[in-house]
Every structure is written in C-alpha cells, then in structure tokens.
C-alpha cells in the first residue's frame, strides 16, 4: 500500500507546473476569454511537443507510453492553470475511446496526430435536452453517413474530428447506438459557435447532413463505450477540478493575508478563516477521492465505475465551492473583471456540467454502490 504519487510522477507534475506557469499565466487565459481566438494555439502546440498530450498514448502510436497516473498529474496542472486548450475533448475523451475501441487502422491514423496536437478531437453526444440518455439520442446513422445535430459540443468549433454517438437502429434503446468517427472538415458539416459562461473553452453546435462516418468499435456497442469513456474522463477531468480548486483556495488564502480591514489582515477574522478552512476540507476530500480514482484508472480495477462517480461528485463540488468562496474572500474586488476570481468561477461551473451535471453523477454513484452491495 502506498497512497501517493511516485517521486518521478511528482517531478513530472513539477515540470508541468513550471511549464504552464511560463506559457499559461492567467493573462493567456484572459487573452482567449476576451479575444477572438478560440483557444491558445501556441500553448496547444507546446503541450504536444513536450509530450504532455501523449503521456498516456502508447509509444507505437506516437505517445510517451507513460500511464494514467502521469496523465492525472498533468491534468491537475492544466486545471490549476485553467489552460484554454481542448485537452479534455481531444485526449481524455477521443484518444481514450480510440485506444479502447478503435481499429488498428484508426489508431495508427489518428493517435499520433492527437498526441502531437496536430489534430484536435471532440466527443459529440448531447442533443437538445442537455443530458444524454439512449432514448434522446436521435442523430441517425445510415449507410456510413450521419444526419442530425449535436449541441453543445465542447471544442466543437475547433475540432478536426469528432466521435459521435448516433443511432443506427430505430427505437429508443441502448443497443441501437454506436460510435462513429467523423472528419469535421467536410461539406456535410455545419458549425455554429455558441455563447457560453466560459469562453476560454469554446463550444459549438454541429449539424451533420449525410456526413461521411466510420464505426468506432462494434455496432451496438456505442452506449457501453460511451459510458466507459465518460468514467475515465471523469477521473481525468476530476484532476483538472482538483487543480482548479487548490489554486482558487490559494488565491483566497493569499488575499486574506494581504488585505487589511479594521486594522488587521482579513484572514484573522474567523468568518474568513473558517470559510477558507472549509474550502481546504472539500479540496482535501476531493483530492483523496481522486487518488483512489487515479489508482482505479491506472489498474483498470473493478471499482473504476464507483471511483469515477465518487470523484466526479466530490471534485465538482470542491471546485465550485472553492471558486465561489474565493470571490467572497475578495469582496468587491472579487466581482471585477480585472481580478482572476471569475476565471475560476466560470471554469468550475463549465466543468461541473461538461460531462453531465451533478444529478446524473449522483445517480450513477448510488446505482453503482447499490450494484456493488448486491454483488
């Protein structure tokens, strides 16, 4: 038993932190938030060159061939830096689905380019209602083409390829669903950029009209592959959330040390001190749940599904809690555009819904605990 990342993994984390401190200060996040560029291209390219994107992609497919634990520590640093790049879509979801279910040809073709950052991928699953269930997936697959629409799709405006959850057989059940890989740079695709609470990660609606598509994994396996992919991504995104929570807590702490009111640092008022202590508690619980998630992911443990849902609920709440109270500690300053507090607040709330909201993950958690209990 050893519940800590190894010395090498901690070094990698330090390296990622230094790299991001240099290449992705919050001014870089702001540039995306305020400007017309949808993501930070230079940072994205750099992350590819450094091998961070390909950390968990096998060497034979152009990655570094490290493991999930390494990807977890990188994810934490990306979350801490609020990196305005499509890592979760391209790496945590698309590369992972291809690793798990792609054909040899698909892996050869796409993984090296995803690892280098040359190609951006995204997962397109949501349709009108906001939450994905087999019964509300209507986008239809016929004879190797897709027709229908997905919205919102995170990074949908900038992605080159998408993995799409689509219905190949009529009805409402999960067996009629499959995953398809689609090249988004083709004439049957129309994209509309959407306004969102966190423009540092852009989103789009994607309309498919007889768009050419190829199966990923077997027909009828779509729902299972999708759910498994969400679990893995929940753990990796959970590390982003932990990183963001920690940073928001640190900002609040630093401000409380430096801001004086009534002749003393506001951190000496218990109302503020205890608020920060509670933020520390939720961040710590999320981190500890995350360590178990990382372990389950890296070993493919039977507890993976439970660990993913636990971590998802825990890290979502922790990031939201820390980000919102960080504003409170900052008083009026916290509500200004110029202070970085709102960047964390925005991101925490984007990530809270991006893989499905709390309700959905709470349900999954209870279902999974029950299934385990019954076994």
């Amino acid at each position: 038993m050893d519940f800590e990342f190894s010395a090498e993994q901690q070094q990698l984390k330090e390296q990622a932190r230094r790299y991001l401190a240099d290449k992705c200060p919050t001014t870089a996040v702001r540039a995306i938030l305020e400007g017309s560029e949808p993501f930070d291209r230079a940072l994205w390219q750099g992350l590819g060159e450094m091998g961070f994107l390909g950390a968990a992609i096998p060497e034979e497919y152009g990655g570094l061939g490290l493991g999930y634990l390494e990807l977890c520590v990188i994810a934490e640093e990306l979350g801490r830096a609020l990196a305005p790049v499509p890592v979760s879509s391209s790496i945590f979801l698309v590369a992972e689905i291809l690793k798990a279910a792609g054909s040899e040809e698909q892996k050869q073709r796409w993984l090296p380019r995803l690892a280098s950052g040359e190609v951006i991928g995204t997962l397109a699953s949501v349709e009108a209602t906001g939450s994905v269930r087999p019964s509300n997936v209507a986008l239809s697959a016929k004879g190797g083409t897709l027709t229908g629409a997905k919205s919102p799709v995170l990074d949908g405006d900038i992605a080159d390829i998408a993995i799409v959850l689509a219905r190949h057989a009529p009805g409402k059940d999960a067996q009629g669903l499959s995953l398809y890989l689609v090249d988004l740079n083709q004439s049957g695709i129309e994209r509309t950029v959407l306004d969102t609470i966190d423009p540092s990660r852009s989103q789009a609606k994607i309309a498919f009209k007889d768009a050419a598509a190829e199966l990923v994994g077997a027909a009828g396996e779509g729902w299972r592959l999708y759910e498994e992919a969400l679990d893995r991504a929940a753990i990796l995104t959970g590390f982003e959330q932990i990183g963001g929570a920690d940073k928001a807590l640190e900002m609040g702490r630093d401000y409380a040390l430096q801001r004086f009111a009534f002749g003393r640092a506001i951190g000496s008022f218990q109302a503020i001190k205890h608020m920060l202590a509670d933020m520390y508690v939720s961040a710590t619980l999320a981190r500890s749940n995350g360590y178990f998630g990382a372990y389950a992911l890296s070993t493919g443990s039977a507890d993976l599904a439970e660990a993913a849902a636990t971590m998802r609920v825990s890290s979502t709440k922790a990031f939201q809690h820390c980000a919102k109270n960080n504003i409170q500690v900052h008083g009026g300053m916290g509500f200004t555009w110029a202070m970085d507090c709102h960047l964390f607040y925005r991101r925490s709330n984007l990530l809270a819904v991006s893989l499905g909201g709390l309700n959905e993950w709470e349900d999954k958690l209870i279902d999974r605990l029950r299934a385990k209990n019954a076994a």
Partner: protein, 413 residues
Amino acid sequence: MNFDDTPHEAAFRAEARAWIDANAPKHLLPHLEKAGFGGIELGGLDPMKEAKAWQKKKYDAGWACLHWPKEYGGRGASPIERVIWNQEEGPYGALSGSFIIGHGMCGPTVMDWGPEEAKRELLPRLAAGEDIWCQLFSEPAGGSDLAGLRTKAERDGDGWVINGQKIWTSGAHYSQWGILITRTDPDVLKHKGLTMFFLRMDTPGVRIVPIKQANGQSGFNEVYFDNVRLPDSQRLGGVGEGWKVSLTTLMNERLSIGSGMSAGFPDIFEFCKELELADGTLAINDRGVRSKLAEWACRQSGLKYTGMRAISALSRGENPGPENSIGKLVAGSSLQEIAMFALDLQGQSGAISDPKLAAMTAKFQAQLLRSPATRVEGGTDEILRNIIGERVLGLPDDMRADKGIAFNKIPTA
C-alpha cells in the same frame, strides 16, 4: 500509488486473519455488528469484562497496541500493518472503545516523557487491558482554551501537592490511571507555567463524580483533587514543560480519533435501501434522497482515503500533522446530519426511540443524541477550523486578549 497489499503486507494480513478467526469472541459478533454510535450492548453480558478478555487475549498473542515497541507490550508494527490489523479486526474493534484514550493518547505520552522504570511496569499492563487510563486535561475554565487551566500543583519537599478540579474526564470512573496537566507557576505566561503528571485514580484525595450526559449516559466525570500528594517520579517531562508534553498527547489524539472515523454513510445507505416512502417508492430511488446519499458517500470515502494518505505519510517517516484535523470535523457533522435525515424520512415515527419499535433498533435516535458531543470532544469544530486555517493554510492567529500577559493577570468572566 498502490492500494494493493505488497507480498509482505498480504502475509501479515493472512496471519492476522487466521489468528482472529481462531480466537475472536464470535458469540459477540451479532451484537457488535449492530453496535450503535456511542456504546455497545452485548445481550446482557458485561461489556467491560468482554473487552478486557479480548484485549488480554490479543496481548498474550502479540496483537495488542501494534504500533508500540515490543518492550512496552506492543508489536513494533508499521503504520500500514496497524491499518491492516484494524481492517481485519473489523467489528471486534468496537470492543476496544474504553482503551482508545489509554492506547492512543496516554500511553504514547508516557512513552515519550515518562521515567524508564514506570514505562516498563505500566505500559505492558495498559497494552494488556489490565489497566485503563484517562486523560485529565479539561477544566471548567480550560476546555478549548486548555492552557487556561487552574488545577494547582505545588512543591512539597521532594513531591507535589495537587488541588483543583477537572471536568469531562471520560472513563475516570473505571480507570486505574490518568495523565494530569496542572499549573505550577501562575506568575508566568499561561503556556509556560504548566507541568504534567501521571497518577493512580485511587490516590487519596482524588474524588470522582459522574456527570449525566445529555443523551442520558454517563461516560464522563468531574474529578476533584484535594491535597493529592504525588512523588516527583510521577512527573512527565520537565517542570514548566507541560504544554509541550500535552502536545504529544494531542498530536496522537488527532491520529487515534481523527483518522479512520466513519462519516456514517453505510448505515444511512442500508436504511434507504429498505425504507418505503409514503408513496410506496423505496427511499433510495428518490432523487432528493440520492443527492444527499451521494454527498455522504463522498465524505465517507474521502475521509477513508485521506486517512490512508496520512498513514502513507507516517510510513515515510513524517509526523501526523494538523491536516489530520479534518477527520473529526467532517465525521461529526455528517453523523449529526445523517441522524436528522433518517428521522425525517420516518415521518412522525422518527421521534420514537424504543429499540423494539424504531427502525434500525433506534440506532439513528441514539446517533442524534450522541453526535453533538463528537463536534465538541477532543477539539470543537471551531477550534479544528482554526487549526486548519492557521497551521495548514498559514493564516494569522486570532486576535487574543491574553497575549503576553502572566496567567494570573488574564481577564476572566
């Protein structure tokens, strides 16, 4: 990052499991599995007698106080081995409630600061469950502000005379020994004038008066000291060093009551799986119920893995730090919230605490009445938040009215 046993750990686990399987008091198991929060009931058997018998058996076979050195009655086991043992001991661990203070706090304090002869004589008896120890720290004027304590120890030839009063002393009424913190010098700063001792609870002049608790039980006591004479050989640490010595106790307290505390999720989960709501659905299928259960599940596992991270840090040779304060802070309010929620789900029957009529044999009603104490004993929620804020996050100390002032000049009510 590895949650699996190493081969060595697996061998240790197998050995522990085999021994427990061959020796545990299996006839008590049905009662222990039902054991509520804040007390055990063994179907008419005397819990103290059964607890001592199990402790002695463990001691004789080398399974008592695993983390203590062998020469003082322990096993010299690693922190991880101790976790494994606790996992394997499972429900039988509930028998050891009366030993927690002695094994977790008093023993380690005596071990660090006591005279060698006393350690060799007393610690093995403590490990074997032959003696029970209590912690004589809190006073009417010194709870959260422990260093505000007033019990006096004065030199008398080559010994000491103690006068004053302690309060909230858990188990004083069944303890043979106690560790005692006193004021030896009121003319200096309050943390400077303290000195620690250990003493037999039947020393002449010690009077123990049980206190009836809000939940009807009597676990703690007032303890009066009326010209109690102690030899200097019963001093722990130097004169005026009492605060430093008490920190050993409190640091160990964090570890023994904080880490590994349950937030109470398993009980409420079981309960909601069975309970039918008024509309005929099972509680566990209700969206609102699920949301609450998910929160408690996350706290339960978060605490479990936080505890394991602390154990990992210990086995790397780090000291148990102030971050361990989160265990009791999270568990205390969770237990209380869960009890209230369970009552609420039962509607108007929720208030019934007759074990024959109440769901889960009134476990939640008992938990409702005991959990407020968890948020107070061993450091209140507010003090724990201060510890986290100041010692983990590095925030400034509270402004205080007693800073830089000799103890006898500090304002009182």
